[in-house]
């Protein structure tokens, strides 16, 4: 893996959080390619890779087989089923497969390690890419300032599936991440976690800054950390909400935003971060039975 990659940190912490045996399905992507080059595998748990867009469906099949064998008394122990997919294989091409798996109520946890672009194939945009970010398929140039579209809110789409547990997290807060994973494992039914994973290659920063950057994403509310358990929102709040430019200025993928003439774009980005943040806080209030002004 690239020096400073956050993906294996996420994978290790998700697996460590499980008391019970784990079976993994991984979508094609950075994690899959880097950990399983035949004849080597980095996985010490049962692992299956099928294709790019079908981790959700593939794991559904594994889980269905497990439920069947349990019913028949062939297996007695509890097994946790975990799917790993990048934002590519989850937000875009894998969305249908994920949605179906969540809708059908399989007892599995889907973890999206989200580096906000198709990193494995060379930094192409995904619907998880933030507005203004430079990617190879929506680059910054003379006429364009990087990605035009706002980032899709997949975590909220998952919450709208009314599944028992949905969470958004970051690599870099191991206590929060593992606690969320433990909570997920304690629940029977479909669970989804969207974990921000800075990518030094695609985002452009020093490899040792991965965890710092993720925490900065949290501190600026650029990437809120929260969970939705049976419709009840619980949002982690930064001690001090920092301006989003503090985060944007640390990465090459946003460098062009600081050219003269792009001030409005930076304002729009801050406004949208604030808007989504208030919406999230409002949902938290509503769920507590409070009034939203």
């Amino acid at each position: 893996m690239c020096p400073g990659c956050g993906a294996p940190i996420i994978a290790r912490q998700i697996l460590l959080a499980s008391k019970d045996p784990v079976v993994v399905v991984c979508a094609t992507g950075c994690l899959e390619v880097s950990t399983t080059i035949f004849p080597y595998t980095a996985w010490t748990v049962p692992y299956l890779h099928n294709a790019f867009e079908n981790a959700g469906a593939t794991l559904s099949g594994v889980e269905a087989a497990y439920q069947n064998f349990k019913k028949k008394g062939k297996i007695n122990q509890h097994i946790n089923f975990v799917a790993f997919g990048g934002d590519g294989g989850t937000y875009d091409i894998g969305l249908q497969s994920l949605s179906g798996a969540m809708e059908r109520g399989h007892d599995l946890l889907y973890v999206c390690y989200n580096n906000e672009a198709y990193m494995n194939t060379g930094v192409q945009r995904s619907s998880a890419t933030p507005k203004g970010a430079n990617t190879t398929t929506e680059p910054a140039g003379k006429l364009r300032q990087g990605k035009i579209e706002w980032r899709k809110d997949l975590t909220e789409i998952m919450a709208a599936h009314n599944i028992p547990y949905v969470a958004q997290a970051i690599v870099g807060n191991w206590a929060d991440l593992t606690r969320k994973a433990e909570k997920a494992y304690s629940i029977r039914g479909p669970k989804f976690m969207n974990v921000l994973q800075p990518c030094r290659l695609g985002w452009g920063y020093k490899p040792e800054d991965t965890l710092e950057l993720a925490r900065l994403a949290f501190d600026t509310c650029f990437w809120p950390v929260y969970e939705v358990e049976n419709g009840v929102y619980k949002v982690n709040k930064p001690k001090v909400k920092k301006p989003v430019v503090e985060y944007l200025k640390t990465q090459d993928r946003f460098r062009h935003l600081f050219k003269p003439g792009n001030e409005k774009l930076l304002e729009d980005i801050q406004a949208e971060v604030d808007r989504r943040w208030s919406q999230l806080l409002a949902k938290e209030t509503l769920a507590k039975g409070g009034e939203v002004k």
Partner: protein, 399 residues
Amino acid sequence: MSKVVARTGNEAMAEAMRQINPDVVAAYPITPATEIVMIFAKYVADGLVDTNYVAVESEHSAMSACVGASAAGARVMTGTSSQGLALMYEILPIAAALRLPIVMCDVNRALSGPINIHCDHSDTMAARDFGWIQIFSENSQEAYDSLIQAVRIAEDPRVHLPTMVTTDGFIISHCLDKIEILEDGEVKNFVGQDRAAKTSLLDINNPVSVGLLDLQDYYFEHRVPVAQAMKDSKKVILEVAEEFARKFGRKYGLIEGYQLDDAEIAIVALGSTCGTAKNVIDELRGVGIKAGMLKIRVFRPFPAEEIAAALINVRAVAVLDRSDSWSTQGGPVSTEIRSALYGKPSQPKIINFIYGLGGREIDLPQIRSVYEALKNVENQPLAPAPSGAGLVQYLGVRE
């Protein structure tokens, strides 16, 4: 004690699935295969099977879930047609390369475009390069019998390849026919109580990694065994058929000759058309014409030697293709027949008719016209190139 019942092709396949009682079925509806999974879903709802039924949200997910379940050691089945099979195309070769014994009901329906829900073989033929065993059925009885045999074929350790059993869409799938079904216990004994997979994702104490990335140094070596398994499967298909014949009386092979032994002119066909053709052959035989037919039951693996041997004394052969592969050299079956006969001592004249696309009816007059064409070709010198006029024709299309 087997009993005689009335079943459509879809009902017959669903019945066989009930008796096989797979661990997992992951399926999505598509005309004209829908009923198979609908009937099976009712079996699930009524507690007649122990299967975990995954009502997936697309055929791509159906085959993906089948791969997951099969890699977890389960006995897995599904069913589809046409666009559904096409949506599975990405995953079909993965299933074969991972050596997963998934069994699928494939109801032959034309591939779009244009969109058409009726029978032709384009969907199945387009999947011929994916490492799946492909068995064609002439009628509901064959569909029922072949589906049961397919489980044994696929799961045989010498094979371990996914297998599809096909019927002709609407013609067989929706046509009520008289079939003999076995007792539940007989089917269960034949296929075995469970798959007893040696390798499984659910074997926690022996973790495996399945579906790794191969670079240039390993991919080739991982593909060759699939070819070997396909070769070895011929023997297994015949062994399973022999056991089936011994226990239940009905005989099956890779191919079947009808009035072929002394035939001078013959057609080669797959599926329900073979049933129709038998009528014409009987007619022609009645007036002393030595007409015959070679029915191909197993298309993958392609039984080249058996076909060459069966056609050894035939002077002119018309290959009927119910799909066009647009190679401009004829349909997929005719191309493989030519290849099977290349270099062999007997060299019949071979002509190719592409017929029945999109459910276009093939009737007795059309089949008679094929034999007419064969009579004309029989005594002519062999034309120099396959793309010569008249060697590939469309049968039954309006000009």
